[in-house]
Symmetry: C2
Subunit: 143 residues, 2 copies
DNA sequence: TCCTACTTTGTAATGGTTACATCCGAGAGG
DNA sequence: CCTCTCGGATGTAACCATTACAAAGTAGGA
């Protein structure tokens, strides 16, 4: 469940991160984005609104948001990081056919073995790869 | 639990992958390796045995082994892939302090929600990040 | 021996990400 | 208004793991 844009703005204030025009635009894009965009996708989409936008600014902003805990970097792909505004309480599924990255509702907090309680866990990611229902039905049709 | 080198050689034969000198060396290195080496670590280590070894060969071999299902590529790090010869029935933990990647025994096969049985899952990875016990005790000492 | 398919090798290219120097722009203070 | 300052934004170059590609080597069969 995503937070509203206004709530996110408030979070920026609370963390004393100045609400620059570019940062708000990146945040708004993540907010209205249904999937899990890459830095490049964010850049290409926002460049239509901010003609002078630099890709470095997108990376800088994403790092600021990530360090503040508002955004999570998803490493489900080898050479392309995806970004998620939602709280990190779910897994992700990448369809090897269409490339979509979907949410997988599940409790990932309780995964780490209790027997290993001497370890400090800061982050948990659960990544699945396979074929999504849409692509599966497409495969059957082509038989 | 890792298979013996001889058992691995047999697997190559079964899959009709020719047992070239370089492939056997890569496999032997993964077999005796305790951690989860990167392609570069494999290359540097084996270059002492095979002076003419090319890094491309290491990557080619790893891809062949991965496609045959004998080796798993672990994407716990953003910028470098690690390789695991063990069966993919466990999670991984990366210590943000010392960089070690450890195994986390757990049943990752039963993780995908049964409600999503219309999805075909080919691969599951569970990645934790945090601080390992060794580094935690080190932090306490330095207080 | 010759042929052919496979493997290895070296080098160049790729592409996401980061480092760095420079530029800009909103305020504070005069 | 003017100027100073500093965080943020920008553009370019560098980084670096990985891949593409072409050339060279190799084993095995006819
Ligand atoms: Mn998500
Ligand atoms: Mn492992
Ligand atoms: Zn799909
Ligand atoms: Zn450690």
């Amino acid at each position: 469940m995503k937070l509203s844009f206004d709530a996110l703005k408030q979070q920026l204030k609370d963390r004393e991160i100045s609400l620059s025009h570019q940062r708000l635009k990146v945040l708004a894009f993540l907010c209205r984005s249904r999937g899990h965009p890459t830095a490049d996708e964010i850049y290409l989409a926002l460049r239509e609104e901010i003609a002078t936008l630099s890709k470095t600014t997108v990376y800088n902003t994403l790092r600021v948001l990530e360090e503040s805990g508002m955004v999570q970097a998803i490493g489900i792909e080898d050479h392309e990081t995806r970004f998620d505004l939602s709280p990190p309480d779910h897994g992700h599924f990448k369809c090897l056919s269409c490339g979509t990255v979907s949410d997988v509702p599940m409790d990932i907090q309780a995964l780490f073995p209790e027997a290993m309680n001497h370890w400090r866990v800061d982050e948990t990611q659960v990544n699945f790869k396979g074929i999504c229902p849409d692509c599966l039905s497409g495969e059957e049709e082509s038989k």
